[in-house]
Amino acid sequence: MRSETTVSSQGDLVSEGGLPELPRRGREDGLQGWRRLLRNKWVLRAIFYGTILAVWQATAVIKGEFFLPTIPQTIRGFGEIFTEGYAGTLLGTLRQLFAGFLIALVIAIPVGALMGRFRFVEDVLAPYVNTLFVTPKQALLPILIVAVGIGFWYRTWVVILFAVFFPIINTAAGVRYVDTELRETARAFGTSRWRMFTRIYLPASAPFVVAGIRLGFGMAMKGMVIAELWIFSGAGKLLETFSRSPLRLDLYYPLVLLIIFFAVFVNELLKWAERKLRPAAQATGQV
């Protein structure tokens, strides 16, 4: 929990990260060899996760494969997923996911923008948005099935229902932000409507919108998994099948890890995009 006090290139004292040393007995750390090593974050991560892997392997060996697959078994499982064609099922789910998500965005972003821009729209829609947001959407599944059956639209609607809220809320926040901070300044300069849109609203709200997309995508994935578990199809079906007789945890865990990797990948990608867009957003402040 040390805060590193270092000297920046301008010669000012810079305090980074964490909290300053809380009172501790003993002198200041003299950073000798192995202690310095322990402060390197990759070393720490290696130690921590290495230990986890070791415990995993040990448990797997002791308790047998119906409790936990060993690491080699898990790796083989990865391979089997591809060779046995399960990957195809996954891709099918993925396609549906993207389709549903895209539709959700097409709905959500304009709605959010309108809500952020026009107080009237927000007042009317906000109760519905907020209430639906907190409704457990899983309770809606049976109704949905009655309404649209269990085909393409079922999964698509579920994804839309889950994914649509964060983009709405965040887009609205982004537009609202522009309104409060920048619009007056822009108007004072007599900016035309089109330019307002492209030069101000778009770049300034972009990071917010991307944040909404990022969070929305996580929800979309969640909705998809739940939808598929409910009707026993797609990736959800695989997750269920591998966890029942015959127990194939050596296929289950690779599947789960794949999903995690995918989720983290998309998340990091969008976070990067958010970061990249932020300077542009701040630049519009210099109107």
Binding site: T6, V7, S9, G11, D12, L13, V14, P23, E28
Partner: protein, 259 residues
């Protein structure tokens, strides 16, 4: 003697932010003061005056050298020394009264006594009537008065102030300076006051320690010739002007950077 401060051969360096190596922020700094003196540390940014103040308080340990207060070595912060920060550092969820009491709580003073002392000090800094206000409702100048009250409530032997009026506007600053002097004249504690404002230093202090940067050290210690109590008129006198110029020259030459 209690309240006498002695700084001996203090060195301090910090690692560089980018690129390796360290920057020597304080270089063999030594000086001493008698108890009850009001001394100002003046210098450009980066000359280490704030660091020096913190070393004197015990917040940061020196690399080498030592600080003696009343003959005793300083190891860690203690309520014998009051500190006033540039950024106020008030606790936003506490009222003015609550904030002033903060140090007293650490002393273990009982509630009734605490209240009494806090009220006394609040009166001293002219904030009577504002006891139940929250920091967010106060102006910068008032917030700093709370910071000052908090520091003197614990009745420390010496008072350390790190550019305390740096965050307020000019007019408020001058008012606060006068208030500070008024309070100090009553208690006559040792005060070490860090500032980059030369006029402020001359207006407030008995002595001025002029520091330079890179390498950081003391270039000069001078006695301020103005009598006490100080009044506003001093600000406009030619003597003030000359002294300001003198110190400014000193700082300018010290501030040329070799990089």
């Amino acid at each position: 003697m209690k309240g006498a401060v002695e700084v001996r051969g203090v060195n301090k360096s910090f690692p560089r932010h980018q690129g390796g190596g360290e920057l020597q922020v304080l270089n063999d700094v030594s000086f001493s003061l008698d108890a009850g003196t009001f001394i100002c540390l003046v210098g450009p940014s980066g000359c280490g005056k704030s660091t020096l103040l913190r070393i004197i308080d015990g917040l940061i340990p020196p690399d080498s050298g030592e600080v003696l207060i009343g003959g005793e070595k300083v190891r860690e912060p203690s309520l014998d020394r009051g500190f006033v920060f540039q950024q106020f550092n008030l606790l936003p969820w506490r009222t003015v009264l609550g904030n002033v009491e903060f140090g007293l709580e650490n002393l273990g003073v009982k509630k009734q006594e605490r209240r009494r002392r806090a009220h006394e000090v609040i009166k001293l800094v002219d904030l009577e009537g504002f006891e139940t206000y929250y920091p967010s409702q106060l102006s910068g100048g008032m917030q700093q008065r709370v910071g000052l009250a908090r520091a003197i409530a614990v009745e420390p032997t010496i008072l350390l102030m790190d550019e305390p009026f740096g965050s307020v506007d000019d007019q408020t600053r001058m008012l606060l300076q006068d208030e500070l002097l008024k309070i100090w004249e009553q208690a006559q504690k040792t005060v070490i006051f860090v500032t980059h404002d030369i006029e402020e230093a001359l207006y407030l202090g008995d002595k001025i320690v002029v520091m330079r940067a890179r390498p950081s050290r003391i270039t000069r210690i001078l006695e301020v010739p103005f009598g006490r109590p100080r009044t506003d008129e001093i600000r406009g006198t030619p003597e003030m002007g000359h002294l300001k110029q003198e110190i400014w020259e000193e700082l300018k030459s010290g501030a040329t950077v070799e990089g």
